[in-house]
């Protein structure tokens, strides 16, 4: 079994309900293929540095997975067809660091500004 980090970019003009559906869809896919989902991170709406399929912004979802290479192949096959996704990236890692989330800080800052 290997460890993988998997990131997908979802289109910006999608409702939160649909977002949850997409996350559910892929978590089920992972479990179906004997994978183990260790963590999911929502990075939220971020500015893309270049336009992808006429989109300027995208919702980022980050999965930390334990599974085989077959699972990743299956995931990418499904993601290629999915029209709601802009891009995906899967990276093999030796070890998951579950503590650091580089994109969470921005959300907290925004919340603080709102409360002020």
């Amino acid at each position: 079994m290997n460890y993988y980090e998997h990131t997908i970019i979802v289109r910006q003009d999608i409702s939160p309900i649909q977002m949850n559906q997409i996350i559910d869809k892929y978590t089920k896919l992972i479990e179906k293929n004997d994978g183990k989902l260790i963590q999911t991170q929502k990075w939220g709406l971020l500015n893309l540095s270049y336009i992808i399929k006429k989109n300027r912004k995208g919702n980022y979802i980050h999965f930390k997975i334990e599974g085989s290479g077959e699972l990743i192949r299956e995931l990418e096959k499904n993601e290629k067809i999915d029209k709601n996704l802009l891009k995906y990236l899967s990276v093999k890692v030796q070890k998951h660091d579950l503590e650091s989330n580089y994109f969470e800080r921005k959300d907290k800052q925004i919340e603080k500004e709102k409360t002020k």
């Binding site: 990131t7 970019i9 971020l46 893309l48 540095s49 270049y50 992808i52 995208g58 980022y60 891009k87 990236l89 990276v91 660091d97 580089y102 994109f103």
Partner: protein, 89 residues
């Protein structure tokens, strides 16, 4: 003109020396900023770190300017390319 160039050379030499008593051989050599203890981990998600080692136009900086070691420079280039693929940089 000749004088000026020689002056400049002297200035640089004194700047690089530890003190007046040391010869020109003992120059300051900066360490790799990413190999020191407690240095941040090079990762494609850590955009703020990666931005430090890139020019304003989004190009990677050479290691002779940033003094990054060969091993870390390889990690940097890989993680910058991953971040570019995800449109983070």
């Amino acid at each position: 003109m000749k004088r000026k160039s020689s002056d400049r050379k002297n200035k640089q030499a004194t700047f690089n020396k530890l003190s007046l008593f040391h010869g020109n051989r003992y120059k300051f050599k900066r360490r790799c900023p990413l190999s020191v203890k407690g240095a941040p981990i090079v990762d494609y998600k850590n955009i703020n770190l990666l931005k430090k080692y890139m020019s304003e136009n989004g190009k990677m900086l050479p290691s002779r300017i940033t003094n990054v070691s060969q091993k870390k420079q390889r990690q940097l280039s890989l993680s910058i390319k991953r971040a570019r693929n995800l449109a983070l940089l």
